[in-house]
Amino acid sequence: MATGVPAAPSTLTTPALRLDKAGGWKLFLKTVGARAYPRVIGAQREKSWMFFEIFLPLLAVAAYVFVYRAIQAPEEYIGFVIVGGAMTAFWMNILWSMSSQLYWEKETGNLALYIMAPNSMMAILLGMAFGGLFMTSVRALVIFVVGSWLFQVQYQVTSFWQLFVVFMLTMIALYGMGMMAASVFLLLSREAWHISNLAQEPVYLMSGFYFPVKNLGFVTALAASFIPLTVGLDALRQLAFPSGSSLGFLSVQVEIAILIGLSIIFLIGARWLLAYMEKLAIREGRLTESRR
């Protein structure tokens, strides 16, 4: 600030009507929108994601496609792989971005400012989730469209309405899980990295990203169903491919019911854990303490 800088505008320093500030639901929505903004805008400003999050997943998808073609697997499997590859983007977003976000917010000093502000922390988490969902949907859509075009996948949707409901419920349950994991990762602090690493590949396998989860056997597939992508992906495949239902794990209706249950559990869990985390942060002082 150089000397000779203009004096403060009178609106800033003289007595004036204090600012009108929104509260209640209006504040909640403003917070959600504001916290989603960095994610939405970030996707446009940091273009490197196109390589890492579209090209590289497409390579993984291509590898499975070539294997399935080589062993002359049913043609639906190619479509299964494309849908699984697209949904991978959401899991990566949950694991590496959503879950570890509060930890990073702590490190940069934002977490203390979020807690201190009059907004709800749930709105902050929802903002992160919506921002992440928007950004990842673009990536998933690109993988889906390019993959389907490259490998000439044929879809035969039995019910667009159900397909939409399943997708939305999967996203609600998945991002609810991410919101819940954000508090868990913060509480575990540095060990969060190990959990992310640990969870990545096993979930690819257990959720049947590249093959029908039914092949894992009933008990394993059922155990894997606590991850919303497992049942969500299975239901999407059943609704998008002619022989999908014969390769499905459970009926679509049951899977929708499971997704509704998971959505409720994870969202309530996220809210409870967030309140616990805030309480612990205030009691011990360490959760808002940046190491820098």
Binding site: M1, A2, T3, V5, P6, A7, A8, P9, T11, L12, T13, T14, P15, A16, R18, L19, D20, K21, A22, G23, K26, L27, K30, T31, G33, A34, R35, Y37, P38, I41, G42, R45, E46, T108, G109, N110, A112, L113, Y114, I115, M116, A117, P118, N119, I124, A281, I282, R283, E284, G285, T288, R292
Partner: protein
């Protein structure tokens, strides 16, 4: 609002976890702090690093629970009624790296304004006005990752004022700013408080000049305890009867200042090493005592390079209360930590 800030026997003890085989240790960061800050006041907390200033601010900003006592901000209990305190406060810390590097200065500030419920139109107008005040109008659309440390700190300062809080907490706000920028920020802080009798600032600093120049009242804090609380003028009046001398001498080479401490009439002596010389700050009962000090130096083969009598400063008040300079206290703490 009766009091902007009030604390009653406030204390905080941290439990520091040891290793698997060691017991957790306790660290008393605050002890029996009793403060009353009036609305419209610019109140300073002056103390060395580790004195408990930030802990006190964290409690008042609802980020930390005290282990003893109570605290009220804008007449609301900071522990039991955080939802009522939070809309009325904001905080800026020196050296913080809040916000997102991918966002521009305007976008970062807008985002934080939304968490307080400001309309976008009002927020954007205030962002432009405040950035002009801190000389950053040309950085409105600069990504915050491209800002220097000083500019980033100015952005943080704008963030604090943006929501026009009733009580603003500034924790070492001029940390990382150059001299000119610090002066301008101080001027703005003063004019902001003076502009409305309902605005209050609690400012922590370990810069004596900042506290002296800016604050209506100052509390001197060390090792978690408030040692004195008054206007800077009244605090300095405590030393009005004493004589304060600053002597620059040839290097003491390990002789230390202890040789002067037992001289009759010497109230306190602080010692700082410089390049090629030592600086001793004496608080003496009266002017006559300086003769004994000079004699001791001469007999100890210490050459006097410069001798000055000066008016008391807050630094002298601190030395008088603590027995050592703030720099010495911080150095000792660093050595203990190492």
């Amino acid at each position: 609002m009766n009091f902007a800030i009030r604390t009653e026997n406030l204390g905080r003890v941290y439990k520091i976890r040891g290793g698997k085989k060691t017991e957790p240790k306790s660290l008393t960061a605050l002890q029996d702090v009793n403060l009353e800050v009036q609305p419209g006041e610019l109140f300073g907390l002056l103390g060395p690093n580790g004195a408990g200033k930030t802990t006190l601010i964290k409690i008042l900003t609802t980020l930390l629970a005290p282990t003893t006592g109570r605290a009220w901000v804008a007449d609301f209990d900071a522990v039991k009624e955080p939802d009522k305190v939070r809309p009325r406060i904001n905080m800026v810390s020196g050296g913080e790296s809040s916000g997102y590097g991918l966002l521009t200065v305007r976008e970062n500030l807008w985002m934080f304004s939304q968490f307080y419920g400001l309309s976008s139109a009002v927020a954007n107008q205030r962002i432009r006005d405040l950035l002009e005040v801190v000389g950053m109008s040309d950085r409105l659309n600069t990504k915050s990752s491209d800002l220097s440390t000083g500019l980033r700190q100015k952005m943080n300062i704008v963030r604090g004022f943006l929501t026009d809080p009733d009580v603003l907490f500034l924790d070492e706000p001029t940390l990382g700013l150059d001299v000119g920028a610090s002066r301008e920020v101080r001027r703005f802080i003063r004019s902001w408080v003076d502009g409305d009798a309902t605005r209050t600032i609690l400012l922590t600093t370990h810069y004596m000049v900042e506290a002296d120049e800016l604050c209506d009242r100052v509390a001197i804090i060390n090792r978690g305890r408030v040692l004195a609380c008054d206007t800077p003028t009244n605090l300095k009046h405590r030393l009005q009867r004493e004589a304060i001398f600053r002597l620059e001498v040839s290097p003491l080479n390990g002789k230390g200042a202890q040789m002067f401490e037992n001289l009759p009439g010497v109230r306190n002596v602080a010692h700082v090493e410089q390049d090629g010389s030592s600086v001793l700050e004496f608080i003496l009962e009266n002017d006559d005592v300086v003769g004994a000090v000079v004699n001791t130096m001469t007999s100890g083969n210490i050459h006097i390079l410069n001798l000055q009598k000066r008016e008391p400063t807050l630094e002298d008040v601190f030395v008088d209360l603590v027995g050592r300079s703030m720099e010495e206290v911080e150095r000792t703490q660093e050595e203990e930590a190492a």
